[in-house]
Structures are given as structure tokens and as C-alpha cells.
């Protein structure tokens, strides 16, 4: 490792930072969208209304049996066909991530909703709150409190998965690192640096989760 060249990293920092920003921004939006859509799917699945729950169950099982990279491809090629104009790599990737992650989030949220005691629902019913009010004010706030650690964990996985967007030629952190590595001929430095950045971000996330869990059990 005697000829490890730090300069190649330092000189390309602005370019690498752009890539990292895209990765983080995509992760952030996909988590928000995934949780929103996932909550909807979970509520549909638990609604007790057969067409809705059947639809949600089919969606979740279908998406979960397909590789993410395929979903990204689908949306890149299918969405322009459906709406008649190209929407660009970023938005097609974002839609793909939201649709894909929603399936996983909905399963987490479904478990979270089921962890709230039935007595809480009955208390809401006894007060005259309707189904949606009970979900909104009584069940979901408690469910999300129970779920925060596992939601964050899923977010960490999602962050790692954003490296797959290279297939639609988006310049995320991983892609940008590869570009620098190849153009500068410094593969070892760049892939080492990329690994460290991913590690630091994900490990910080894991520590955060552990602190949340400790706070809950104490």
C-alpha cells in the first residue's frame, strides 16, 4: 500500500460529493414515499374488506419475488411508454424504489399495527371514533413508535440498494466512485474509499438504531 494516492480522492471530492448527495436524496425520498405507500398498503391489507386486502397482498407478494434491479429497469422503460414521454433516470428510479420499498415497509407496518392491543381499538370505538380516526389518532402513532428501529434498519438497506441506479445511468456515489477509479486508473484507492463511506454512514445508522432500542427497554 506504499503508493496509496490520497490526492486522487481529495481532488475529486466535489464530484464524489455530488454522487453522495444523489444517493442520500434518493434514499430520503424513497423512505418517505415507501413509508407513505407502505402504510396505505398495510391498512388495505388489514381493512377486512376482501378486494382491498387481496389487492395489497398480491402487490406485496409480487414485488417481493422480483429483484429490485428488474423493477428499476421496468420503470425506466415502462413509465415513458405509459405516459408518452421520458421522465429521466432520477424520477423513474425514485418511482421504482418507492414502489419496491413500499412492499417491504407495508409488511413492517402491518406487524407494527398488529402489535397495538385490541383494547386500544375498542377504546377508540367506544368513544365513537370511526375507523380512520382510530387508525390516525390511536393505532398508527403507537405502531410507529414501536417500529422506528426496524424502519431505520430498512432505510440503511435502502441506502445500500441505491447503488443499483447505475443501470439507468444515474450518477450515484458508487457510480461516481467507479468513474473516478477508471479514469484516474486508481481502482484500489477509490473502491477502498467508497467502502469506508458506505460503512461509516450505515454503521452510524446502526448505532442510532441501537440507541433507540436501549432507550425503549430502559
Amino acid at each position: 500500500m506504499g503508493d496509496f494516492d490520497y490526492n486522487v480522492i481529495i481532488q475529486n471530492l466535489p464530484f464524489l460529493w455530488q454522487g453522495l448527495q444523489l444517493s442520500l436524496w434518493l434514499t430520503f425520498l424513497a423512505i418517505l414515499g415507501g413509508i407513505a405507500l407502505g402504510t396505505g398498503l398495510a391498512l388495505m391489507r388489514l381493512s377486512g374488506f376482501l378486494p382491498l386486502s387481496l389487492f395489497a397482498a398480491t402487490y406485496v407478494n409480487l414485488i417481493r419475488s422480483v429483484p429490485l434491479i428488474l423493477v428499476i429497469f421496468w420503470f425506466y422503460f415502462l413509465v415513458p411508454l405509459a405516459i408518452g414521454r421520458p421522465i429521466g433516470g432520477f424520477y423513474s428510479a425514485l418511482i421504482a424504489f418507492v414502489m419496491f420499498e413500499a412492499a417491504y415497509y407495508s409488511e413492517i407496518i402491518r406487524a407494527g399495527i398488529q402489535s397495538v392491543r385490541t383494547g386500544q381499538v375498542q377504546a377508540g370505538q367506544a368513544t365513537g371514533l370511526n375507523y380512520w380516526q382510530i387508525q390516525r389518532y390511536v393505532v398508527l402513532p403507537q405502531a410507529f413508535q414501536n417500529m422506528i428501529p426496524i424502519l431505520v434498519t430498512q432505510g440503511i438497506i435502502l441506502f445500500q440498494d441505491t447503488s443499483l441506479v447505475f443501470v439507468v445511468s444515474l450518477r450515484d456515489f458508487m457510480t461516481v466512485s467507479s468513474i473516478v477509479a477508471r479514469t484516474e486508473g486508481r481502482l484500489v484507492e477509490m473502491y477502498f474509499f467508497a467502502a469506508i463511506v458506505y460503512f461509516v454512514i450505515c454503521f452510524a445508522g446502526s448505532l442510532f438504531v441501537r440507541r433507540l432500542q436501549m432507550a425503549r427497554t430502559s
Binding site: A123, G128, L129, Q133
Partner: protein
């Protein structure tokens, strides 16, 4: 005000209620007692439709609870219910617990709801705890909050499902005191409980249940003085001889 006619209920093959008939008149306090598993809690949860019934009719005032078209949400907003395990919303302060139903169901303004919440919480002696969360209160305090939460909706009747069964013995009286006061104020009450002292003091009638049926339904004096059935005699001797 509450009338229960020939109500039967099954959990798949198992019959939990067998042809139950009784009523609670306006201003009356009726205690429902009996051994565990006799169906008392199930019966009281049928009154506001938390549990559906397969046979029979339940009416509250002019509303038929058991009719398919009944707007249960509207009916429930007029009947208060207190649960064995309190079921306060743990993520909300006492104040928010009391205001939620008032604002979302009765559409009261926040000011109105708060005023009501404060006066009710003061009445059960918990004024200084109004900003606390349920987890910071003792069981007895939580149950008093739960009673206030139900009263905040200005109910026409109150249902109590074993309100003191989950409490430590030293906290039972503070809850019963609130209930006695409520009864003396003329509230219509249906109370599932094992507290026979409470029944003697304020109940107009006692309904005794066993194995899903109503075995006795009599004036309080008569029930305690001279129970007709062997099962009620047996139950009373077990519960009173300590």
C-alpha cells in the same frame, strides 16, 4: 333505556351467550356478576356493538344496536365505556385523552373541550396530573382518568367492564368512590363487577350470570337476602365469606 332481548352469541361452535334477556331503565344502576367465563363481559360489550350477536335484539333508547343498518359509531359516542385495563391512549397526555373524542366526534372547539376536560379531571381529584402521560399514573388514577374520558362525551349511559379487577387492592376504593358518586348523580349504569359491597350500596338490580345464561335478575335486596338458585348461593358464599 337499554333493553336486551333473547340474545345469543357464538364463537364458532362455542356458545358464549344463551338467550339473555334483561334491561336497564333510565337512571338505574344494574350490576352484572357471576363466575369468570360466564359471559358477563361479552354481554356488556354487545350493548354498544363492540361484539356482534347472532340472535336476539338489543336496543339503546330508540336505536336498535343489533340492526344491520345502525350507525354504530354514532350510537357509541352516546354511551360511555370503561375497560378492565383502562385503555387510555399511552402516547397522549391525560388532557389529550379527554379531548380527542370531544373534538373529533362531537366537534367541540379546543377551548370547549379543554374546559370540559379540566372540570371533569378536577372532579376525580387529579387536577395536578392533567399534563402527565398515563404511564406516569397509578392504576387507580388511570381508571379515574378513563371514567372522566368517557364522561367527557356527555353519555346517556355508562358501561363498566370489570373496572376494578386489574387494580391493586388499595386502589379499588378510589375508583369505586367515583362510581358511587356517579350513580348517586342519577347516571344510568351497567356494571360488570365482583365488588359486592358496591352492588349492595348503589345497585338497583343484580343480574347473575353463569355459563352464558342469566340465572337471576332481581332487586338488590332480594338477591343478597334470598338468592333463588343454588348457583347464585354458591357464588355468593364463595365471594362473601372472607
Amino acid at each position: 333505556m337499554i333493553s336486551i332481548e333473547n340474545v345469543s352469541k357464538w364463537y364458532s361452535d362455542f356458545q358464549v351467550l344463551d338467550d339473555c334477556t334483561t334491561e336497564v331503565a333510565k337512571g338505574e344502576v344494574v350490576v352484572v356478576c357471576g363466575p369468570s367465563g360466564s359471559g358477563k363481559s361479552t354481554l356488556i360489550k354487545c350493548v354498544n356493538g363492540l361484539e356482534p350477536v347472532q340472535k336476539g335484539t338489543i336496543r339503546v333508547e330508540d336505536t336498535e344496536v343489533t340492526a344491520k343498518r345502525t350507525n354504530l359509531t354514532k350510537l357509541r359516542s352516546r354511551i360511555g365505556m370503561v375497560f378492565q385495563h383502562f385503555e387510555l391512549y399511552p402516547h397522549m397526555s391525560v388532557r389529550a385523552n379527554l379531548c380527542l373524542g370531544q373534538e373529533k366526534v362531537l366537534k367541540r372547539s379546543p377551548d370547549e373541550a379543554n374546559e370540559k376536560a379540566e372540570s371533569l379531571i378536577d372532579r376525580v381529584g387529579l387536577k395536578e396530573h392533567i399534563e402527565k402521560y398515563p404511564g406516569q399514573l397509578s392504576g387507580g388514577q388511570q381508571q379515574r382518568v378513563a371514567i372522566s374520558r368517557a364522561l367527557a362525551m356527555d353519555p346517556i349511559a355508562m358501561l363498566f367492564d370489570e373496572p376494578t379487577s386489574a387494580l391493586d387492592p388499595e386502589m379499588i376504593n378510589e375508583v369505586l368512590d367515583v362510581m358511587v358518586e356517579l350513580a348517586q348523580d342519577g347516571m344510568t349504569m351497567m356494571v360488570v363487577t365482583h365488588e359486592m359491597g358496591f352492588a349492595r350500596k348503589v345497585a338497583d338490580r343484580v343480574v347473575f350470570m353463569d355459563e352464558g345464561s342469566i340465572v337471576e335478575d332481581r332487586q338488590t335486596e332480594a338477591f343478597f337476602g334470598n338468592p333463588e338458585s343454588d348457583r347464585a348461593k354458591d357464588f355468593l358464599s364463595k365471594i362473601l365469606n372472607h
